[in-house]
């Protein structure tokens, strides 16, 4: 014999957007966790490093870097390197941190717990890594190392945002599939999927964020005409709106898969150590 579900008057009165509230709550406490001296020091290095590299190049050649060289350098340093490293340290511990800290059980027993944990951590990773990358961009432009660098500030801000959104969602997959090896697996994913598969001119690179970002970079900065014919295959032929949409779709798909895996996964008590 079974009884019907018990009414819970308070909890049955739901907030207008409970999913958003739970995501914001998790993002808030993940960001609070990031405000530690070691993480802030790492962020400071991330902000200064691109400008230091550009300044060293300027010092070497004795003049500002011309856009044809400076823009790709800036792209490799910020939307690729700074964003990737920031996301690796913020997104990879998605589940492992919770298991190690003993918080996983307390989050997972909430109605919106696992979804909130995934999306809240993703949001925190995007905000943290995006803020570091935008600060690095501002410093690089203010340093005046690249001729006309200020003209590409808006383009780079969008590339940073898309890079953070897409790659944070991508790194959510190793984080939920192999939580205890997530950092190593995420580095592998970055190298094999984003940089190896992303540079293969075949169907497989259509599923990478790097192809979309490269394509947007050359389209929005006018570098497409400067690319040698043999390298034209490394960028997509479709228009910028298509590339932006592709990153958004990839982000949604990666997060949906990660969510499904996270809802399905069970962690025996022995995993919490």
């Amino acid at each position: 014999m079974t009884t019907p579900p018990v009414d819970i008057p308070d909890a049955d009165r739901r907030a207008p957007l409970p999913a958003l509230a739970s995501i914001a709550a998790v993002a808030g406490f993940q960001l609070a966790r990031l405000l530690t001296p070691p993480r802030l020091a790492l962020a400071a290095i991330g902000i200064v490093f691109p400008t230091a590299v550009l300044a060293a190049a300027v010092n070497g050649i004795g003049t500002s870097i011309e856009p044809r060289l400076g823009i790709p350098m800036l792209y490799l340093l910020i939307p690729e390197m700074v964003c990737m490293l920031g996301l690796l340290v913020t997104m990879s511990p998605l589940v492992a941190d919770e298991l190690e800290r003993g918080t996983w059980v307390h989050v997972a027993v909430r109605p919106g717990g696992r979804r909130g944990l995934l999306l809240g951590t993703w949001l925190a990773a995007v905000i943290w890594s995006g803020a570091v990358a935008l600060a690095a961009l501002a410093l690089a432009i203010l340093s005046d190392c690249i001729e006309g660098g200020a003209r590409v500030a808006g383009t780079f801000a969008v590339l940073i945002l898309l890079s953070c959104m897409g790659r944070a969602a991508l790194f959510a997959l190793p984080a939920v599939i192999v939580p205890k090896r997530a950092l190593v697996a995420s580095v592998g994913v970055a190298l094999v999927i984003e940089y190896l598969a992303g540079l293969i001119p075949a169907v497989v690179n259509q599923f990478t964020v790097s192809l979309r970002l490269r394509t947007l970079l050359v389209a929005w900065t006018g570098l497409r005409r400067d690319i040698p014919a043999e390298f034209q295959l490394l960028v997509d032929i479709n228009r910028p709106w298509y590339q932006v949409s592709a990153v958004l779709v990839l982000t949604a798909v990666f997060l949906a898969i990660a969510w499904a895996i996270l809802e399905w996964r069970q962690f025996p008590p022995s995993d919490e150590s």
């Binding site: 019907p4 308070d10 909890a11 966790r33």
Partner: protein, 245 residues
């Protein structure tokens, strides 16, 4: 309120062998009742509680929380369950108030309900002296009180506690058990696992003893103790019989 019926949970160990952590456990906890779940380490207590908390899926059998089957309606079960574990797992950088608020938001509680609930818990759990201090600076007893508050933030009708007093001193344990007695009096169903039998001997309405994933004894204190000197001796007798058999 809490119903466990022929529950089975098997794991596959890293060696490939199947571990029968829970093997046909049945019991129930009625509203306004506090039941002690007793067993040695590895008996299957934590696995049973984690199935009830929807953290693990049953291999077979069923578990229901306030009318919601954990396998069919896990979200409904989560909304009606408060879960406290031995590891408090409170975020070091957040204060008690922030923790209660954040976890209330994970339940989707409206802002007005949540604020009132947080203040009630701060008052009931006597957190006011340290409610705005980062949890990393709290004692283990204070952290456990915050952990209990986090489990009660949505006022669940069913409460499951896995060794909640293991990190507490005598006073902390007594206060927590007094709070549980109060919750029981207000109609909550409480299932409590512990190794500290003397603490709960006089407080629980009934006891369920499990060993090797099976229920080996069940009943009120008087029914279990019989001619034995106390609950601890009765527990050893029940487990000893199971081991011998």
């Amino acid at each position: 309120m809490i119903e466990v019926d022929r529950l089975v949970k098997h794991y596959r160990a890293s060696s490939g062998a199947v571990v029968r952590a829970v093997d046909g456990v049945s019991f129930h906890v009625a509203p306004g009742e506090m039941v002690g779940l007793l067993g040695a380490n590895g008996a299957g207590k934590t696995t049973t509680l984690r199935v009830l908390a929807t953290l693990l899926r049953p291999t077979s059998g069923s578990a229901r929380v306030a009318g919601c089957d954990v396998a069919i309606d896990p979200v409904g079960a989560r909304r009606r369950l408060g879960y406290v574990s031995a590891t408090t797992g409170v975020p070091d950088r957040l204060s008690a108030r922030e923790i209660l608020r954040s976890f209330g938001e994970l339940h989707g509680l409206p802002a007005d309900v949540l604020e009132a609930r947080v203040e009630t818990l701060v008052d009931v759990l006597d957190l006011s002296a340290f409610a705005d201090r980062p949890a990393g600076r709290l004692s283990s007893g204070q952290r456990q009180r915050v952990s209990v508050g986090r489990a009660l933030v949505h006022d669940p009708p069913a409460i499951v506690l896995d060794e909640p007093t293991s990190a507490l001193d005598v006073i902390g344990s007594r206060d927590l058990l007094a709070l549980l007695a109060d919750l029981r009096a207000r109609g909550h169903a409480i299932l409590l696992s512990t190794h500290r039998l003397h603490e709960i001997e006089a407080r629980c309405d009934r006891f369920v003893v499990i060993h090797g994933g099976r229920v080996v004894a069940e009943g009120s204190r008087d029914a279990l103790v019989g001619d034995a000197a106390g609950l601890e001796e009765a527990f050893f007798a029940a487990v000893g019989e199971a081991r011998g058999g």
